[in-house]
Amino acid sequence: MSMELRTSPHQISERNVPTIMKHVVLSLLPVCGFSVWQYGLSALALLLTITATCLLTERWFNRASAQPSSIGDWSATITGVLLALTLPPSFPLWMGVVAGFVAIALGKALFGGLGNNVFNPALIGRAFVQAAFPVAITTWVPAFAANRFSEFVPTTLTAPLMMPPDVVEWVKQQSVDAFTGATPLARWKFENITASAQDLLSGAVTASTGETSALLILLCGVYLAARKFMDWRIPLAVLGSAALTAWLFQLYNPAHFPAPTFVLLSGGLMLGAVYMATDMATSPVTPVGVWIYGALIGVLTVMIRYFGGLTEGVMYAILIGNALTPFIDQYTQPRVFGTRQKRKP
């Protein structure tokens, strides 16, 4: 009779990496569904193209480095879906392929794959195309266009390596009321017009594919946090510090700076706080570090939005947070049991 020899513990929890990642993907499906409903075929094509690119790139790097396939851990799927959600719905598909490839190749595989990456791969991909294709990434189309389920936005099917065509004519045909072609953040920055909280919550604004409805993202995040697939402290810290910073600025100059609710609900802050900043591999592990990291991202986002050249600051705020994560971890090591000051009995 042969005996199995193992070391303790002999009982382990059923939760594993693919389960966690799969639930993140599942929780993103409502967000994806809403954006497809809003933007139709173009959004769907963008989501599918980028996710497929990420998966293929991941698999190719597995093969090139003679590693077993890591498609099954679902992390590349998350990267693909998140990346697509941060891009404008009219983004040309071939540029999406570039973004997806860069996200996995430069953002993840180069560092050694899942867990070893320093930066959120999806944001690396987005940062790359933001620098490479500044016009395409700021070209917006209206939601609920009349023909959204029967035809693509003309830019979507731009031939590879070609510049996308202008969408102004196409937008005019869509019989959409009051489309300004600018995001709420850009309108605030350049025209000092703030969108209403109600529009921002429900998604009746111009935005990236998955950033329209702050409420929907928040609900999905609550589900993830309740199932303990996400660290709730990070979004709380990000949103809390962003709100506090915005409130202080508004206190200083109410005429110029918008209300904290506008800051919280506009742009990519909600998606970033709930899904990007919480990326496990690139956020701190220590209890104190998590709060510092989240608070830092919140403050930086507001600072970049208010004083930077860009209208949106979430991406760079999170990337800076990612870069500082090892540093934060190092200086916030938990105090070992038995080294704290004695409690009074």
């Binding site: 594993n16 966690i20 899942l114 496990m280 938990p334």
Partner: protein
């Protein structure tokens, strides 16, 4: 008036809630028959091995001393059955090493009552005589630590113990023998606590019991007089509630300073099983010849708590409960901190609190693929010692063993297994830490 918010069960910070599998907790303790041969190791405790004082071919009586204590930090060994010494020599042990053992062929026709005893009036003994009497019982820590009971109970003159903490947490999944002892041998336990308080000078005792054992709490409560210096306290059911330092924190809010013994905060911790046997054997003047242990696990047909003679080979034990043929993995102790054994010829010893048998298909780790650390921080959130297992694991992979000890307090880890339990990447963290500690120990020697 206490606000409901503050009225929560005493507990420690961090820890985990594994599946408890405590089904055997409702089954009364039963006695197993004697195996034809008992294998009694000379060293079943921490300290110097006992010295054999019988010879091959000699007949021994149940309860007779067959090996004497070698100095203070040592324990005598008593014959667990009436029979004849068949061999004295190396036999397999749980750790895989061959250890000096006395093999006794049991006289099957003998009634096997304890023949050697010296009843004594415990109340009349002074501290020194009491300690000697405790040593004579051969009792070691029966929770699994196997530290000689009398050594643990002897308090240096410059130390004051204000509280005796009695460990009835039994936080390991599957194990329920402490639970049954508290329910069925409550009087033994209370008597034993009295002796331990007397010898250690502790003016009060607190029995900490996890709140998944309400019948044990009720049984003790009912047996205690109203003005007793002994009290019983329910604590949260959470692993590792029964670790000394977490238990002290849960019951008294005191943190044992890192690297020091509980005596540093005026506390002495003893397991309920140890004290219950002390309360039973000390007045009777008998030695420890058997113990109660839990036999359970998915491969066991008749799980339960059994009185098993010391030295019973596991093969015999598992045959009795209908597990020997289907079992693939046998664990001594609990699933979180116990060890697997390589041979069924290993005997039950004083420190065996449980024997768990798993069949092949019931092993969850079998197909568990190891992923890279995704830095989810779960391990940091559960470590009862507030260590950073994630960082320790990354350093272990790079073989930075010295840094693990110097900067990340590796030596504070007591291998409770919480980090490995929660790790979604299935990284064998505890095993990595064991290896790192062993390598550091070897380096320190040379």
């Amino acid at each position: 008036m206490r606000l409901p918010f503050f009225n929560r069960t005493a507990t420690f910070e961090h820890g985990i809630h594994p599946a408890y599998h405590k089904e055997t907790g409702s089954l009364p303790i039963r006695r197993l028959p004697f195996a034809p041969r008992l294998i009694v190791p000379l060293s079943q405790h921490i300290g110097k091995p006992a010295v054999c004082c019988v010879s091959v071919g000699q007949e021994v009586l149940r309860g007779q001393v067959i090996a004497t204590a070698d100095g203070f930090v040592s324990l005598p060994v008593h014959a667990p059955a009436t029979g004849v010494v068949e061999a004295i020599g190396f036999m397999p042990s749980a750790s895989g090493k061959m250890v000096d053992s006395i093999t006794i062929r049991v006289y099957q026709a003998d009634p096997q009552s304890v023949m050697v005893s010296a009843p004594r009036d415990v109340e009349s003994l002074d501290k020194k005589a009491l300690l000697a009497a405790i040593q004579d019982t051969g009792i070691s820590g029966l929770g699994g630590a196997t530290f000689p009971a009398h050594v643990k109970l002897s308090v240096p003159p410059d130390v004051t113990i204000d509280t005796l903490v009695v460990n009835g947490a039994e936080c390991e999944p599957f194990l329920t023998c402490d639970h049954r002892i508290m329910v069925e041998r409550t009087q033994d336990l209370i008597r034993g606590i009295g002796y331990a308080m007397k010898v250690s000078g502790a003016p009060r005792a607190i029995i900490g019991v996890e709140d998944n054992k309400p019948d044990a709490i009720a049984a003790i409560q009912a047996a205690l007089p109203a003005d007793s210096t002994i009290q019983v306290k329910a604590i949260e059911t959470k692993y590792p509630q029964g670790a000394e330092e977490t238990l002290i924190y849960a019951l008294l809010g005191r943190e044992v300073p890192a690297g020091q013994r509980p005596a540093a905060v005026g506390v002495l911790v003893n397991n309920v099983m140890t004290l219950a046997y002390l309360g039973r054997l000390l007045p009777a003047g008998e030695g420890l010849v058997e113990r109660v242990l839990t036999v359970a696990g998915p491969a066991v047909e008749k799980p339960g708590n059994y009185i098993v003679p010391i030295g019973t080979p596991l093969r015999f034990l598992l045959e009795q409960v209908g597990a020997a043929s289907s079992a693939k993995e046998i664990i001594l102790g609990g699933p979180m901190m116990g060890m697997t054994i390589s041979s069924l010829d290993v005997p039950v010893t004083k420190g065996t609190s449980g024997v768990l048998a798993f069949g092949k298909s019931q092993l969850p780790q079998e197909e568990a693929r190891v992923y890279a650390c995704i830095k989810c921080g779960e391990c940091v959130n559960v470590c009862p010692k507030f260590l950073n297992p994630s960082q320790l694991g990354l350093l272990a992979a790079k073989r930075e063993y010295a840094e693990m000890a110097e900067r990340y307090n590796l030596d504070r880890c007591f291998e409770c297994g919480c980090c490995s339990y929660v790790c979604p990447s299935h990284i064998p963290l505890v095993q990595q830490f064991r290896i790192a500690k062993a390598i550091n120990r070897e380096k320190a020697k040379s």
